[in-house]
Symmetry: C2
Subunit: 381 residues, 2 copies
């Protein structure tokens, strides 16, 4: 892969999602990633479904283009190999429970003395400090404790998680930001740094409207289905055949919407003529809008609304989302390759940069320990 | 603010969320951010609730520590001021509809000839290319079209959005990664770059399990409430007083859980003795577990499970999430200041770096055009 991080060596001690997501982003930016896995089983996610034959599509989608070596960091001989790679590494990324690498002699404090230029990033569930630092990290637990689940779902519904592991993913992204900023910093100062990212902290950092509401007004927001907490109408409405999202959040757009639906008088009604009035009376407004919207299909309404520049959209399932011509034209589905199963499709890199070609392929999927010989030859001779 | 991006000048042409979130992250890393707002109204989000007196807590939480100048980029005199700042800027960030800055003579192609070292980042709803490039960007629309809403919610429930504007936020994070990588790249090559991030692309990039499932098996995943799509038990369960999240995804943890609940025989039952068996029979298992869990409160169960190292947690509302001692000890709620309303609390920076102090404060909240005089004196003399 070509990219801004070309010629950088990332020593990747991560497993499952938060760390591998971060090193995948680095790999997509051109870095060389050497993944160190536990001998025997390797990354736990090699056993997570869905599978193609016996291979985890989940593992493959996160680790395409990385090299794999199996090393036991408690074993003398393996430590020697690890030390040789570490000597050349620019970045070390890990997501063990805090304290684990210290036990093996590779905590940041040990390593930074020997390698003051190394950038060392730890992603963990709760961070390297604080009363909860020892607790293991799980996306679900972090989504629950971070408050996000308390504002996601239908009113009074059972608890609802975000349908993707957003606790891991946002922490992976913040870690990648920290690493890139540290690389820039190192170019100026010559010094490495330690980066400590907690999944729980990241959940607090993405609460947006909900945290502004609580910190400023002591309001405790609740789940509102598809409704936006402070803009109206800004939610999904029933149509003849499915749903349509309408985001007509200012008075002008709302007027246009009313005109299109032949209920222009509504936009002058004082129950609906300002955003705050609409927010207060949204239940009543929804009934009025859905009565009108029930006369056509979602795609018919979208055509009409797009003509009038009323922001709207469908709710796509994953197949529709992936097959959207926009996604194809943006090269967001790329190809990788696995020796046994052949071509493998996976999500691409959303950071498009003019200086580098956005490749249509990614490197191969690594089998456990596949690159041992090559890595030893390169680093230990 | 001290940090790896200290002494960098970011010229911030962004409004509402995706762009301001990105420049907030850059500001938290030490960059100086000059926010250029439309004369008169300024950033639209100055009018978004919640409000403290007449000030938007939403705007304040995203723009603390930035400087504000109001410039009309169609006006000759204002353009002269803008040009002077642009001359010194390291990074330009914007989230207008594609084509808008071109019309005013500040498209990337125009600007890069004069300032080849400038890093120019555009965040938009659908990207600068492709059939949908002209459509306006709204988080709700992007959550709907990106597939995330199709896997979030209760089975067969009404459409459910993620309770935070994850469409904007993830795109803001990817843009920040791109900018930092470009800064590192510029240190090597001396060249700036153009960065094009689409909110919709970013939704595809975070689909994780769901996209692996579709691309490898042509399965179309559906919303599953709080249940994990491929690990079991990994969801929220009813207790005597509320809910508990249990993430006992491997056989050992499941055995421990069964032991604690006095149903050890269950862990040997072939309906439940492997992850794939449990996944298949999760409805039945949930009834068994909830019957047992109904005898104690969530906090009692958490104490017991933590002793046994069974991963678990509560579902916190926003108040509980913010008041968690872990969050306090991690400095995740920081102070800013507004001339009229005084102290203002907001979320902190989850990227903790050993080389820089994690400040307990952020710069002041800018009124519209507050720094005009100072900026003109500095750049135009």
């Amino acid at each position: 892969m070509d990219g801004p991080l070309k010629n950088l060596l990332v020593l990747d001690l991560t497993r499952v999602l938060v760390g591998p997501y971060c090193t995948m982003v680095l790999s997509d930016l051109g870095a060389r990633v050497i993944k160190v896995e536990a001998p025997g089983a390797g990354d736990d996610s090699r056993k997570f479904g869905p599978f193609i034959e016996e291979y985890s599509a989940y593992f493959m989608s996160l680790n395409r283009g990385k090299e794999s070596i199996a090393l036991n960091l408690k074993d003398k001989e393996d430590k020697k190999i690890f030390d040789k790679i570490l000597e050349k590494a620019d970045v070390l990324v890990e997501n063990f429970k805090p304290g684990t690498l210290e036990k093996w002699g590779y905590g940041w404090r040990d390593v930074c003395k020997k390698y003051p230029k190394l950038i060392y990033a730890s992603a963990s569930g709760f961070g390297q400090t604080g009363p909860l630092r020892e607790l293991p990290a799980y996306d679900m637990v972090v989504q629950g404790m971070g408050g996000l689940m308390s504002v996601t779902g239908q009113p009074n519904s059972e608890p609802t998680r975000v349908g993707t592991s957003i606790g891991d993913i946002t922490a992976g992204l913040f870690t990648a930001i920290g690493i890139n900023a540290a690389l820039y910093d190192r170019k100026k100062t010559g010094k490495g740094t330690y980066i400590d990212v907690s999944m729980l902290d990241c959940q607090i950092a993405i609460l947006e409207n909900a945290i502004a509401r609580y910190l400023s007004k002591k309001e405790i927001p609740k789940p509102m289905g598809s409704r936006h907490p402070s803009i109206a109408p800004f939610e999904a409405f029933k149509t003849m055949d499915s749903h349509i999202i309408i985001a007509a959040g200012n008075d002008k757009l709302f007027e246009k919407l009313c005109e299109l639906l032949n209920i222009y008088e509504i936009s002058n009604d004082e129950k609906f003529n300002t955003n705050s009035a609409r927010s207060k009376n949204m239940d009543e407004l929804k009934v009025i809008l859905e009565k009108k919207l029930s006369s056509k299909s979602t795609s018919d309404w979208i055509s009409l609304m797009e003509k009038d520049k009323i922001p709207c959209g469908p709710i796509f399932n994953i197949k529709q989302a992936v097959e959207n011509p926009q996604i194809k034209s943006r090269n967001m589905i790329v190809n990788s390759f696995h020796k046994k199963i052949g071509e493998f499709k996976t999500a691409g890199n959303p950071i498009k940069m003019s200086n580098y070609k956005d490749s249509k392929t990614r490197g191969d999927i690594p089998d456990l320990d596949e690159h041992r010989k090559k890595i030893i030859e390169e680093f230990c001779n």
